[in-house]
Amino acid sequence: MWQAAYITLIALTLQNALALVLALICDRGIKFGNGYRVIFFIPPVLSGIVVGLIWNWIYNGNYGLLNHWLAQLSKWMHISYFSNLERAWLADPRTALTSVAIINMWKGFGWGFLVLLAGLQSIPRQLYEAAKVDGANAWQSFWRITVPLMIPTFGIVSIMTILGAMQIYDIIVSTTGGGPAYHTEVPITRILAAMRGNLQFGYACAMGLVFGAILLSVSLIIIKLSRKLNPLTG
């Protein structure tokens, strides 16, 4: 549970901050904006299994691309710092969970980007022009116009991120399978283990229901909160 919460926390902060920055850049009008949009949404349409297997190969301890690059970097800079970092990323208890969180982030940020961009584009342009006439700088108009009006969108994005990351399963099973030594175990793998390994169907079902209830109440709280903070409804 806490391990899924860690993955969720990274998704909620880093991934959505990245998505917001990208959406802001795209919203202000940029050349090839549409092209970037298409590319950013490729990872979200892929299957979690395929994504996990690709990254499994990149993170591989002996033949992986990441270690290969670290070694090259060390050789090129003549210091051993980077080659000392080399490891079997997914088999090392210290890095396994963060490595999985990064995969999850890679797969998810395109989705957040698209939803945030939609939210940004629904803000009327006149508001910004009016603020400019009144002498507001870019920083002020971001905090006074963009952020308040984006609160409903932030609410949606956080619910989607939380639900998606807490229920992470495909990526786990195709990379670590919950290991090493349960360091990447998440609610769904636990439920499945109770169900298939020990055939405790009642216990598994109870865990599922409690977990489902937690997710549901968290999303309801966020909905309430975003209603309250929203200047138009609250």
Binding site: V38, L46, L53, I54, V115, S122, S174, A204, G208, F211
Partner: protein
């Protein structure tokens, strides 16, 4: 001058992120073309002598041919089922009068609010009691069910927007209820249907959890499950595994690129409404 620098910075950031998105995929494709001996030593992205043999091995010996056809079969039947059932139900909810209509509608939408983990154990037990474990129908029905709520919701609001006058004039011309649904409402609802079809196709093609729970016979498995089985049996045959992954991925990317306008529009419209 400073504007130019900022624009340059922006573009380089965007290009960096795009590269991060695409690179793992290119890496997968290039790995799938390397030979078993080259894959452990050759780290280059471009393969000089591509070995297409991997794909043939994956397709024939790795069973990916069977998995591929299964995936296509499941996707077509499940998406077809969802569209048929949900459009009929949505039409009924939008246009017909019957007792407990609103209550039934809420009952149908309830599953949308309940996260998956609450349900799949019970689903497994249910299917087991019905002797549907390890059958095609046992894999297809739950997924049709899972897709219904969302698409009924979408289609109902779309059907309600169709002007009643149009339907009345069709009725005067002698069209039956079902005729109106089929000849008038379905063609008019094409944009909404497109969203339903694309979403459910992506979802079903990528589905793994149910496939793992329900199917244990190799001849019944879709691609995602097949990949994991292959990895379990041949741990070190990376090039063939990568070829299998390409077989699983390339159709969906192709579909995405073909339909990207609809998909992106759908996500963005859904986000603003929600």
């Amino acid at each position: 001058m400073s504007k130019k620098i900022i624009s340059l910075l922006k573009h380089s950031f965007m290009i960096l992120m795009s590269a991060a998105c695409i690179f793992p995929l290119l890496w997968m494709i290039s790995s799938s073309l390397k030979t078993q001996s080259a894959i452990f030593s050759d780290m280059s992205l471009f393969v000089l002598r591509p070995s297409w043999q991997n794909y043939i091995t994956a397709w024939v010996k790795g069973n990916f041919g069977i998995y591929f056809l299964n995936s296509v079969f499941y996707t077509v039947t499940i998406v077809g089922g969802i569209v048929l059932v949900s459009s009929l139900a949505a039409y009924a909810f939008a246009r017909l009068e019957f007792p407990f209509k609103n209550f039934l509608f809420l009952l149908l939408l309830a599953p949308m609010m309940i996260p998956i983990p609450g349900g799949f154990v019970a689903l497994y037990v249910l299917l087991n009691k019905m002797h549907l474990i390890n059958t095609r129908i046992g894999y297809i029905l739950p997924q049709i069910n899972a897709g219904l709520a969302m698409s009924i919701f979408l289609l109902k609001s779309f059907f309600e927007k169709i002007p009643r006058d149009l339907e009345d004039s069709a009725k005067i011309d002698g069209c039956s209820r079902l005729g109106i649904y089929w000849h008038l409402c379905m063609p008019l609802a094409k944009p909404a249907l497109a969203i339903v079809v694309i979403y459910d196709t992506l979802y079903v093609w990528n589905e793994y959890l149910l496939a793992m729970l329900i199917l244990s016979d190799k001849s019944l498995m879709p691609l995602t499950r097949g990949l994991m089985i292959f990895r379990g049996e041949h741990v070190t045959q990376y090039p063939i595994l990568m070829a299998g992954m390409c077989i699983a991925t390339i159709p969906i990317i192709f579909l995405y690129l073909l339909m990207q306008k609809h998909i992106i529009k759908g996500v963005m419209a859904g986000a603003v409404k929600g």
